[in-house]
């Protein structure tokens, strides 16, 4: 199952965390996690570790274990490339450990927020504003990307860790699709419905 479908499936679940009354609590938790990056190193490591454990537990309770596992695999692959460069660049083990745990904390916080917050709830709480529309455009781009990946896979061009260069035409397609075709049609559809350019 694609990431997108998995996220949509999780958003449709009805756990207590999906309820509207938790919306602002989740927002505060995410902001607190992001803000913990400014804490002194030792406090940051401790708070990030605590928050990582908290959000990983919450993701598991919300039924996102499979998604979490896939994200952690991706994260690990990324770290395999990043860590050697960091060491070569002279970063200390303490610093790298702290940053790595902080990344896990922020990533798991955002993942928890996304899987437990249906679209309708964000619109319901925030109304129609720039943030909501920008978030929606991001969602549209991810959907487009998913479609392009599927169309490439259907023609036998699956992107794998061993053949990452196959992602190049996909990114070119998505840039063209998003920047040109999608934006032009969306612009027309909005204007046709009374939004002035």
């Amino acid at each position: 199952m694609s990431f997108l479908l998995e996220i949509e499936k999780l958003q449709k679940k009805r756990t207590p965390f999906h309820e509207r009354k938790f919306f602002w609590i989740k927002v505060v938790l995410v902001l607190f996690t992001l803000g913990s990056g400014v804490l002194p190193l030792s406090y940051r490591t401790l708070s990030s570790l605590t928050l990582s454990l908290l959000f990983v537990s919450l993701i598991l309770i919300a039924g996102g274990g499979r998604l979490l596992a896939r994200l952690l695999v991706l994260y690990s692959v990324l770290m395999i490339f990043i860590l050697p460069f960091s060491f070569l660049g002279g970063a200390s083990i303490t610093y790298i450990t702290s940053i790595s745990i902080y990344t896990v904390a922020t990533f798991s916080a955002l993942t928890f927020f996304v899987i437990s917050t249906p679209w309708s709830q964000i619109e319901e709480v925030l109304g129609d504003n720039v943030i909501v529309y920008a978030y929606r455009m991001l969602d549209l781009s991810i959907r487009d990307l998913q479609r392009v990946i599927e169309s490439y896979a259907a023609r036998g061009a699956e992107v794998t860790a061993l053949k990452p260069w196959r992602a190049v035409p996909i990114f070119i397609s998505i840039l063209y699709l998003t920047a040109s075709v999608r934006i032009t049609t969306l612009e027309d559809s909005l204007k046709a419905r009374g939004i002035s350019g």
Binding site: Y133, R136, K191, A192, G194, I195
Partner: protein, 236 residues
């Protein structure tokens, strides 16, 4: 009511897409025919003032339509784009359909939802719909505002039999109500059942022929690369 396209020329990236098009549409159903890339969509977009013409003007009852504010244009002209999914952006079908009502502040035309049978999708994401369902929703998201002028770009694409019949019924209703309906298609067979009033045949951005629907002949369609009406009947 009358829409006049006067000397319309559209040049995009130094390539002429429409070249000195002059045509007018009164109440009734009118079909813009032409092969792929002929300029049909560009003509519709120009009438809806979504494109700035390089030359020429669009007059509605003698008034330059494109000089009106966007909201006023959209109240008068309902333009439905070709690829439904690319025009969507809301999270539910209901929000997508009522978006125009919110912007134009006009009363919704409730029968559109029934005729196009979209009420059953209301709570779904527009991006989860099939091609035909998405087409119905894109049509509803425009037609619900009950504009007197309707421009439909390839409206029958992807519709199943019930969708086709629903749209056909709707177009007949629009004709009875005295609306101006302009349909762009490359297949005259799609519109044949409800006997349009006139046709305009475009090829390479120029008008090849125009006149009453009864005068449309297969030879000129074949010459212009459009499916002739007699073609299917060979297999009947």
């Amino acid at each position: 009511m009358k829409i006049e396209v006067k000397g319309l020329t559209v040049i995009i990236n130094e390539r002429p897409i429409l070249d000195n098009i002059t045509v007018s549409f009164n109440e009734g159903i009118h079909v813009v025919l032409g092969p792929n890339g002929a300029g049909k969509s560009t003509l519709l977009k120009s009438i809806a003032c979504l494109l700035r013409p390089s030359k020429g003007e669009i007059l509605l009852d003698g008034v330059n339509l494109c000089e009106l504010p966007r909201v006023e244009i959209s109240k008068r002209v309902g333009y439905c784009w070709q690829n439904p999914l690319y025009g969507f952006f809301e999270s539910t079908v209901e929000r997508e359909i009522y978006f125009i009502i919110k912007n134009l502040r006009v009363p919704p035309r409730a029968d559109i939802l029934k005729i196009l049978d979209v009420e059953k999708f209301m709570k779904r994401s527009p991006f989860e719909l099939s091609g035909g369902e998405a087409k119905r929703v894109s049509l509803a998201s425009i037609l619900i505002a009950n504009q007197p002028i309707i421009l439909l770009d390839e409206p029958f694409e992807e519709l199943d039999w019930s969708g086709y019949k629903a749209l056909q019924d709707l177009l007949r209703t629009f004709r009875d109500e005295g609306k101006i309906v302009v349909i762009a298609t490359n297949n005259p067979l799609e519109v044949e059942p409800f006997k349009p009033d006139t046709f305009v045949l475009i090829s390479s951005g120029k008008i090849k022929s125009k006149g009453p629907w009864s005068e449309l002949n297969d030879n000129i369609l074949i010459e212009s690369g459009v499916i002739p009406r007699g073609y299917i009947c060979r297999f009947c």
